[in-house]
Amino acid sequence: MKLTNQEYQEYLNKKSPDSTLLKDLLWAFVVGGLICVIGQAIFDIYKNAVGLSDDMARTAVSVTMVFIGAFLTGINVYGKLAKHAGGGTLVPITGFANAIVSPAMEFKKEGLVLGLASKMFVIAGPVLVYGITASVVVGVIYFIMSFFGGGGI
């Protein structure tokens, strides 16, 4: 019996709606939690062993985790983990790196400019568009509020 992923998912849902959700949640919780623990360990190294400030150490953690996520995507490990972990691999910053590398690799055959480089932003693009726009809105609101009683956000 040959099923597409979606058909298989529907089949699973019919078979065991509750246990599937529970299993998915457990996977997402454990894998997502563990990725954050790894992040915390890297943070402690940057802070205590390297001596970076909290803010710099957090940036260094993001940079490191982005590299790890991109590399694990390159060697086809992250995708396999994501099949089980779902939200657990999507939401951490490693998942952001995965969302960049995965389509970029896939479309490399269409060229290095309009294939690889442009497809890097299929998901990362919207994240940056909405994230940066929202942050500018926050900044503008903060600026306006600073005229009424000193910016008490």
């Binding site: 992040g39 953690v61 991109a70 890097m120």
Partner: protein, 118 residues
């Protein structure tokens, strides 16, 4: 040790929340990432998210919500330093390391490796 436990369960819960959206709604992963970043910007703008960062460390900063928090805090810092122009500068400036790393590492890794044939 406590910091690792807090990072684990808070980070895990944020990921589990995304899993509920994946299983129970038709939201695609891209939309969930966008939603989580914007939630991070809002919570960061209200000054709430930093309390979670203080408590959970990487459990709050590693999820993409933390990226939104960095953007919002950067925009506020930018306004404090440069006025209204800082609203445009601060967010991207604060997130520059992560953004540039994503672009450069993403580019190099995609250049070097090929997708597994199906």
């Amino acid at each position: 040790m406590m910091s690792y436990i807090n990072a684990f369960w808070v980070g895990g819960l944020i990921c589990a929340a995304a899993q509920v959206l994946i299983d129970k709604t038709k939201l695609t992963p891209g939309r969930i990432l966008v939603a989580f970043v914007v939630i991070g910007v809002i919570l960061g703008g209200l000054g709430i998210y930093d309390k979670l960062v203080d408590y959970a460390g990487a459990g709050a900063t590693v999820p993409i919500v933390g990226f939104g928090n960095v953007l919002a805090k950067g925009a506020i810092k930018g306004v404090n330093e440069h006025g209204i122009l800082g609203a445009l500068m601060g967010g991207a400036e604060a997130a520059a390391g992560g953004i540039s790393a994503s672009i450069v590492f993403g580019f190099l890794i995609a250049l070097i490796f090929n997708p597994k044939s199906k």
